[in-house]
Amino acid sequence: MADSQTEARKRSGLAVLLIMLVSLLPLVVQHGYVLRILIMISYFAVASYGWDVIGGYAGQLSLGQAAFFSIGAYAAASAYLIWKLSPAVGALAGVGLAALLALGLGSLVLRLRGPYFTLSTLAAAEVVRILLLHFKSITGGAEGRVIPYTGFNLSALQFATDRPYYYIAVALLALAIWTSYQVSRSRLGFQLAAIRNDEDAAESVGINLMSAKVKAFVISACLTALAGAFYVIYDRYIDPYSTCSSEVSVKILLIALVGGRRSIWGPLLGAVLLIPLTELTNAYFASIRAGASMVVYSIILIIVVLYAPDGLIRVLRRRPSRGAVTLQPGPKGRNSHASA
């Protein structure tokens, strides 16, 4: 008992320290480039925490997160450009829309297991992209949407420097980490763990598979849409090919994979490493030979996946995390028989 109290005190002290460090960081970092990287780390981590709920905790490999990311982004942009609303309102609408999509789509495709589910999420993202290309009057079609910079405007979330964006991004990141933490220790989290290990066994002990999986999918969609909305507010340009592509889905997934799934710090660690890594390999190797940067990047990824298949967070930690014990994948044979 005393042990857990000191532990808790130590943790809250650490948290306060972390918050102070994070909020003071932009005062030290005057370099706009570094600040931009920090912001990118934050919003990609948010999207990745979103993926982790369905892909990590629930063990359902989604390759369609770009759909939710785009819905968040397009909602924020359209609310501002067409209906003259604050993009913050649009962001909330986008989160709502993404939740609805996840509910509808999830009710259908979460009945599928393993690769069948993965393929249908991939297809869903393609469908969303085609819709974005089709409804030109709302989305701008292939030409995309530009949010012109009109000077400081609080309701439009336009700021002259990157610092306010940094704080917004960090706040969103905190929300994402909190969500991950809540999921991991909630009833839902335990249900998901059971499902992940063996769907049939989970069902036999009375877990409502669909209800739990759909809930996870909705939470996942909300976080990812939030990241998308922030992305357009910050970068001010979207088009269907750059925001709703499988590249975006894979990037989101890789961050969690490299950092560590089902972990409160995994996606953040993944983003902290991968986002600067993409950029640094580009800065250093791009001039050597076209594509060299991507080769180096890929080699590093391969090494990580080979030596730390459960994510770097588990390698860096001395003891395996609480979740790690139940990490072993369930008996695959039985699962595939059941779904066949």
Binding site: H31, G32, Y33, R36, I37, M40, L133, G141, A142, E143, G144, V146, P148, Y149, T150, A160, Y231, D235, R236, Y237, D239, Y241, S242, E247, L273, P276, L277, T278, E279, L280, N282, A283, Y284, A286, S287, A290, G291, A292, S293, M294, I300, I303, V304, Y307, A308, L312, V315, L316
Partner: protein, 406 residues
């Protein structure tokens, strides 16, 4: 233990690589940034642009640098934007932050230009882009200059040229088809073609878009052939262009082809298609053999230097980046300063009518209040004996159309 060591090494590597980025280079020269898609999907266009910009810098520096600044040399800093837009924004930010830039060239892909523009605008660095999207200069950016034709002008020129073929060569065509890749570039070009074709009394029998980098053009070509189109306007990058044209030949369908630039005018097109490319027309932002280029010894030298070095004619994107460097150089001369703000103001009121800076057709560069080169117009080329030759507008060239097209 090994795993831990490895992860530690990885983390340390990232940190170690990051540190020197802070160290800024000594500012003795005039720094010019270039944003190009060196790797990824669009590497072909990016590399042509980067090579041309390097060539231009070589020529400028060899000729004594920037005279108004006591012969200061230009230092070209190339950023590989890859073909990923969010990455390109970061690369732009890196160039701006780590160097004292007097200007930035490039981002010939419209989406990319739209993505990086806010960064350059906020940093106050003049940005010369070769992207063609219509809406680029309608966004109120003060530092962005679009020195090349706009997408909708392409269609205009194609329709005009079709009329010319009809009047001068008796082309009987009435039925036209428009085929375009479903991207910003494809859409805005197609829009222009449709309006103008109808205005000139042609019947657009079919208008089909296709996804970029598709793998089977047969359904598309079948539709176009079935619609009875005598003239086809395709808007594509190289892979798709070659695929569509190859499929047409395979189906023994030989309409007059007036391509929408990009893939239809780059050397790679001929390498892929060989003889099948002969006679194909295309619109383009720039071509190497018009009067305004061949009429000036320095521009001729540029075209020749490219030919010797890269064993092809100087392609569109190369010519554009070469001339962009000279436009910027001219602005620096007139501003008598390396200060980006002063250079921006010089660009806003510049008028170039001579030399490599005026290589864009028709040979005058002057920006309107929105930052668009108001004189510029595209040209029509035809593949003749493995080389693109300008054939239209007639005031730009004395070259003859190869007619009839086989």
């Amino acid at each position: 233990m090994t795993k831990k060591l490895l992860s530690l090494v990885l983390v340390l590597t990232v940190v170690a690589l990051a540190v020197p980025l802070y160290a800024s280079a000594a500012v003795k020269t005039v720094n010019v940034g270039l944003l190009a898609t060196i790797s990824g999907d669009l590497s072909e266009v990016g590399n042509m642009g980067a090579n041309a910009a390097k060539l231009a810098v070589e020529h400028i520096n060899a000729a004594g640098g920037i005279k108004a600044l006591g012969g200061a040399k230009i230092n070209l800093i190339i950023g590989d934007t890859t073909s990923d837009y969010s990455q390109s924004v970061l690369v732009a930010q890196r160039l701006v932050n780590n160097n004292k830039l007097s200007g930035v060239l490039g981002a010939g892909v419209s989406g990319m230009a739209l993505a990086v523009a806010p960064v350059l605008e906020r940093a106050g660095v003049p940005f010369l882009t070769a992207a063609v999207a219509d809406n680029l200069t309608q966004l109120g950016y003060k530092y962005m200059f679009q020195f090349c034709p706009k997408g909708s002008q392409f269609g205009n020129m194609q329709a005009e040229f079709l009329k010319f073929l009809q009047d001068k060569y008796g082309l009987p065509a009435k039925k036209v088809a428009i085929v375009f890749e479903n991207t910003a570039y494809g859409q805005s070009t197609a829009k222009g073609i449709r309006q103008l074709a109808e205005k000139h009394g042609f019947e657009v029998v079919i208008e089909e878009s296709y996804p970029k980098n598709f793998t089977d053009a047969a359904p598309l070509v079948t539709k176009v052939k079935a619609a009875g189109a005598q003239v086809v306007f395709p808007v594509s990058y190289t892979n798709d262009a070659a695929l569509i044209l190859g499929t047409m030949k395979a189906m023994n369908y030989n309409p007059v082809i007036i391509g929408g630039g990009a893939g239809f005018i780059w050397p790679e097109f001929y390498k892929t298609l060989g003889k099948n490319a002969e006679g194909v027309f295309s619109v383009g932002s720039w071509s190497w053999d018009t009067k305004n280029v061949l009429g000036h010894p320095e521009s001729v030298a540029a075209v020749k230097a490219w030919e010797t070095k890269y064993k092809t004619f100087m392609p569109e994107m190369a010519g554009e980046m070469y001339t962009a460097m000279f436009i910027l150089k001219e602005a620096i001369e007139q501003a008598k300063s390396a200060d980006p703000k002063a250079i921006r103001d010089a660009l806003a009121k510049i008028k170039i009518t001579d030399g490599p800076g005026a290589m864009m057709q028709p040979g005058v560069v002057e920006f309107d209040q929105y930052g668009w080169n108001k004189h510029v117009h595209p040209t029509i080329i035809q593949w003749q004996n493995g080389v693109v030759r300008t054939v239209y507008p007639v005031e730009d060239t004395d070259n003859k159309v190869m007619w009839p097209v086989k």
